[in-house]
């Protein structure tokens, strides 16, 4: 374990189970707005933060000795979105957060072999193909537009490479349209996010070592990410490489006037958990989006945003739950008067778009910010 047992138990004992962590701040608007997708969907206490902490206590104290179905589900059907912690710390100023505890819980469980097959199969795929989807083809980047000596390196990430390539295409389009020099990694391996988030820390070590080496070799001074999951992993789980790590929206706000053509699209902005709650990046995405669209504010946003439902290994293991969470978010965007729901994360986009197509019959468009920026850039 990374945290000491006593430290964990102390944090668990500090939870008085008020369950205010399960709703967004009630005052002053006095609206009952749930915050915990897992608890709302599954209902049992085990799926809310206080119940999960109790389970962790029982594991540490040797009361739970087998990986029951309910144990695996309650622990892994959680996006580790951190909304509970954001609320809790406002009220109780608690220092050790629930996401940290829950990731530790997963590490502890993984060390006992208490892990979902679907998550170990992802580890197997990564081992074999170096991407989380087990794809054997390469995402094609136009070699003529890249510059191996550029100071900026775009780390594409598995999801933008293999599931929502329109995001990678858009980011590359932006580099080209703005006339910015950039490079991509010759051999980009999965950042390891899914392994860290599902407790398979050992399996991630090889990936970290490779990516660190590649980035050092590239000579890049800045690494740009369209995926907040990758960015978070580099920020929190990688050694300091002496390079600047930026999300695409942070990078874009530095470009000054980009001559963007505003389309008048009414768009709600969905804060990705890794970008907002984990990295505290709330302003830049809004600043960029406001350049290309009219932002419609949703009720739950920033620290208290409702998670899209796909993170923490949930999308791969509990897709129905992931899609339900996304559909809830789409409803909220629609209620806000939006025509489109815009995020800044390939994983969010993928899940939200699937839900829009399945549950909402495509009533709302779903985009990543870089897609809109690319579209609105005078080429």
């Amino acid at each position: 374990m990374e945290l000491e047992k006593e430290e964990i138990l102390s944090a668990i004992h500090h939870c008085v189970k008020c369950k205010l962590c399960s709703i967004a701040s009630f005052h002053p608007n006095e609206e009952w707005l749930p915050l915990c997708p897992s608890g709302e969907y599954y209902g049992y206490q085990a799926f809310y933060a206080p119940g999960k902490m109790e389970i962790f206590r029982a594991i540490l104290e040797g009361e739970i000795t087998e990986p029951s179905e309910g144990l695996l589900k309650s622990v892994y059907a959680c996006t580790v979105c951190g909304a509970c912690y954001e609320k809790c710390k406002q009220i109780t100023s608690v220092e050790l957060g629930a996401p940290e505890l829950f990731e530790e819980m997963r590490r502890e469980m993984a060390s006992k072999g208490w892990i979902l097959d679907v998550h170990t199969s992802i580890a197997d795929k990564i081992k074999e193909t170096k991407n989380a989807y087990g794809e054997k083809y390469e995402y094609k980047v136009n070699a003529e537009t890249t510059d191996g000596n550029a100071d900026v390196l775009y780390y594409i990430g598995c999801t933008a490479r293999y599931r929502v390539p329109e995001i990678a295409d858009a980011m590359l389009g932006i580099f080209d349209k703005l006339g910015l020099k950039y490079q991509v990694m010759g051999e980009e391996w999965c950042c390891g996010s899914v392994l860290f988030r599902t407790g398979q820390v050992e399996a991630a070590k090889e990936l970290v070592a490779h990516n660190v080496e590649e980035i050092k070799r590239s000579g890049a001074k800045t690494v740009v990410f369209t995926c907040p999951g990758c960015l978070k992993t580099f920020e929190k789980n990688y050694p300091d490489m002496g390079v600047e790590l930026l999300h695409s929206t942070q990078f874009l706000t530095r470009q000054g006037n980009m001559n963007l053509k505003k389309e008048g699209l009414k768009a709600a902005y969905h804060d990705p958990c890794h970008l907002g709650r984990d990295l505290g990046i709330y302003e830049e995405p809004r600043a960029v989006l406001s350049e290309v669209a009219d932002i419609k504010k949703m009720k739950r946003e920033r620290e208290q945003a409702w998670c899209c439902g796909s993170g923490g290994g949930v999308k791969s293991a509990f897709d129905d739950f992931a899609l339900w969470s996304a559909a809830e978010r789409l409803k909220e965007a629609k209620e806000a008067g939006a025509e489109a729901l815009v995020s800044a994360c390939p994983f969010c986009k993928r899940n939200l778009k699937e839900a829009a197509e399945k549950e909402q019959q495509g009533e709302l468009e779903v985009y990543d910010i870089v897609e809109l920026v690319n579209r609105c850039l005078e080429g």
Partner: protein, 475 residues
């Protein structure tokens, strides 16, 4: 889990749906402990059942009754007295949180009818549309309206609401029969508490799930006024402000009147940790005046007049403190839970009791004395008073609080010693009653109430002859 129990779980799943009943060890563990764990140790229920309607509740109860299996009703799961932690092995925990419909808000009658899973937040969201509100406990607005009113109808954040918020309810007994109290028994109008014969609503209430399962409850709603004004007055002791409190209560001038110490609840009432509370007088009386035009002005004038002669120091504080106090008093307690974040502590112990204002100083003195005797440091000793209208008997709710580090086992021992002494001492000094019946408090109390204890037990036996309802939580 033995084979018989596995069969039972299957039967329960057949009633409530496969997804809503489980004996999974981990899921059961998540119900095994509440905030009161230093006093009621963790214990797993044998299974969790989540009915979606009253017919499912009835069928589950009848099944449990047939097999004499203990049943623990559980509403939304925020509990501070171990009341839903099993005493016996093989208990069914009946999680009622799926039953979360607001069945009616009747602005003309000023009532709301709710199921057990409705929280104060859910209800306030709807009632405020009619400029009405429920009476709020000083508990997180995630708690169940029904369970709180049923367990004890006396609450604290607004003195003016008085102490009887429950009008009528419907309860399903272990044998499957339904009991309806008040006018609910006679008609479709559940709006009057005293329908037939004795006050049955009163007889069944304050039982921690030991009679049956309450599936619907009709409660009073209270008016929200536009005119409001807050005052904060500092005092160095508990005795001095009692005259002022008496005057405010006697003339029925203020909605919320709360005397708190400057290191605990005041932080929640003001909504911030970031203030030099230690520079304030040791006790602060928070007063909120409200009312319609004309009456509000008259009340406010009188409050100011009493304030001049109260012997305290009128405090000038940031405007947002007043606003938070308003929200916490009249729209549900949220920031009040900051008491759980008092640095390095994270848990609290309290003895909640009802008694006369005349004994306020003595209760505090005894609280300090007993705490120090068992080794609880002075800076962990906290206190508050909430007077309650109509103030017959100078009725107040008192809380003798200790905030502490929940992970400190030794402190838990001190608190158990504290309880041992303090329950008896308070009974000797004189109280009107306890906040709620719970482990440790019911035993010394039952010893003192003579034949009433026997009648009480027989009464419960009539309702629940097989003793399946939260067995062991009372007697």
């Amino acid at each position: 889990m033995n084979e018989t129990f596995s069969t039972l779980v299957k039967e329960l799943q057949a009633i409530v749906g496969e997804r809503n009943a489980t004996d999974d060890r981990a899921i059961c563990t998540s119900y095994s402990r509440d905030q009161h764990w230093h006093f009621v140790p963790a214990k797993n229920p044998a299974c969790i059942v989540r009915p979606g309607n009253k017919e499912e509740v009835r069928t589950v109860l009848m099944l449990a009754n047939t097999h004499k299996i203990p049943v623990i009703p559980y509403s939304t799961g925020i509990n501070v007295r171990g009341l839903t932690i099993p005493v016996h092995d093989g208990s069914i925990l009946l999680d009622l949180s799926r039953m979360n419909r607001i069945l009616e808000i009747n602005p003309d009658m000023k009532t709301a009818t709710v199921e057990p899973g409705v929280t104060f937040g859910m209800l306030q969201e709807q009632t405020r549309k009619y400029k009405l509100r429920p009476a709020f406990p000083d508990a997180p607005l995630t708690v169940s309206v029904l369970a709180n009113y049923y367990l004890r109808g006396i609450y604290q954040t607004s003195a003016t609401d008085g102490h009887d918020h429950t009008i009528s309810y419907e309860m399903i007994l272990p044998n499957g029969e339904t009991l309806k109290t008040g006018s609910r028994a006679l008609s479709e109008m559940p709006y009057f508490r005293y329908g037939v014969g004795p006050d049955f609503a009163g007889m069944f209430c304050a039982h921690p799930g030991t009679c049956g399962v309450v599936t619907e409850l009709t409660a009073k709603l209270y008016r929200l006024y536009d005119n409001r004004k807050e005052y904060f007055i500092g005092f160095d002791d508990v005795g001095t402000p009692t005259k002022f409190i008496y005057n405010l209560m006697h003339d029925e001038l203020a909605a919320s009147i709360r005397l708190v110490d400057n290191q605990s609840w005041l932080k929640g009432i003001f909504g911030t940790f970031d203030y030099p509370y230690e520079e304030l007088p040791k006790f602060v009386l928070c007063v909120l005046v409200e009312g319609v035009d004309g009456i509000f002005d008259a009340k406010d004038t009188l409050v100011r007049a009493y304030m001049k002669e109260c012997g305290g120091q009128v405090l000038e504080l940031p405007a947002e403190f007043a606003s938070t106090f308003e929200h916490e008093s009249l729209s549900g307690a949220e920031k009040s839970c900051m008491v759980f974040g008092i640095k390095g502590r994270g848990n609290y112990h309290c003895i909640g009791l009802y008694g006369p204002l005349t004994l306020a100083a003595k209760y505090y003195e005894m609280h300090e004395k007993t705490a120090l005797e068992v080794g609880i440091p002075q800076d962990h000793v906290h206190f508050y008073i909430d007077p309650i209208y109509r103030f017959h008997g100078q009725l107040c709710y008192f809380e003798l609080d200790v905030f502490y580090d929940g992970s400190d086992e030794e402190f838990g021992d001190k608190l158990r010693n504290y309880n041992e002494k303090q329950f008896h001492r308070l009974l000797e000094l004189g109280i009107y009653g306890w906040f709620r019946p719970y482990a440790g408090i019911i035993e010394p109390t039952a010893e003192r109430i003579g034949y009433l204890a026997e009648v009480w037990k027989k009464f419960l036996h009539v309702l629940d002859p097989n003793e399946i309802m939260n067995r062991g939580k009372l007697f």
